[in-house]
Symmetry: C2
Amino acid sequence: MAQKNVLQFIILGLLNEQPLTGYELTKAFDSDIGEFWSARHSQIYPLLNRMEGERLITHETEVTGEKLERKRYAVTPVGAEMLTRWLNEPTRTITPGKDEFALKLYFISDASDGRLHVMLQTQLQLHRSKLEHLEGQMKSKFSTDSQIRGHYGHYLILNHAIRRETEYCHWLEDALASAPAVADADTGTGAKRS
Amino acid sequence: MAQKNVLQFIILGLLNEQPLTGYELTKAFDSDIGEFWSARHSQIYPLLNRMEGERLITHETEVTGEKLERKRYAVTPVGAEMLTRWLNEPTRTITPGKDEFALKLYFISDASDGRLHVMLQTQLQLHRSKLEHLEGQMKSKFSTDSQIRGHYGHYLILNHAIRRETEYCHWLEDALASAPAVADADTGTGAKRS
DNA sequence: TATATACATGTCTTTATTGACATGATTATG
DNA sequence: CATAATCATGTCAATAAAGACATGTATATA
């Protein structure tokens, strides 16, 4: 397996809270859980079929309006047990991360490289707006203690995401502080001088 | 493409510094760059072949000892140009991260869940030893300013990795501070009471 | 000198994941 | 009422990536 079929457990976990359709499951990855895992509908729908074949989940068909059908999936006892086994097993690995930007940066060998400034600036902008979005999420979802109750894990990882992005921004800002805004050194290709 | 063939550019970048064998390329992912991308030899060797077919790299065969052959790959002008194009293009995306632990945590809805303590403790141990290792790397590779020169990007991302792991540990420690060491609530399965 | 470890290169199968293709219904908005 | 956005579910081909399988050499160490 490329990972360990973590997606399967995420689906089980989400359906364990409440029955959901494939569409709703797909949308779940647009919000906070998307900070730590992602999946498209083209991966989700086939997996739902497979999981149903394995009796981990079942569905009942609902009809919206005149004829629009949707399948609402729910966890079976077998699926619930499998979820519990996953949850009970402490995670003894660190999921290896990927970061194209960091890698690109790795190949900038010189602190005076003219490309550094725009590279860092571009990423900083991205991470700042992400951070802003996450802080909005936190405010809207967990502004009071009572909202945390029953969603503690969600609160924890949203907090985690915010701290991660905050740190990412700080790092970029620090790096930016030592990157010249105007290129002095050659950039490997035609760097325009000002 | 699942990503955008970032691996191709990493290989180009590494070979641009100095010609390397497939084996050495593979090993590169065990050190700091592995903090931001990973690849196995079973992905690297076929890709080297493909890239050579596309004239991005070439190789010359060396012999070690009596008959052990190895192919030392180097970037062609075409490959170098492609690398430069990648480096010149600011990264306008954030590579989506994956973190099985965070996801598992998401499904712990109650702060009093007995599983929380061991989950957090296990991860903290992992991230602490990773942090320790990274700090060792920093000390051995960049203890003086002169060592940074010519490897600035490497220095930056190592710093990034250290700050990331430091933050991760802090977050775990904070979460741990509010997680009871002994289970009061049920854990979904047989939680032993003390 | 036995032997374990590291060096060295590959292939093959399976699984994970993306992105494109494909279709149609419902609802909100102008 | 037109039409855009969203809801809703799927398939298919291609690429990415993991893990197992396969083989042999060179070197350090006991």
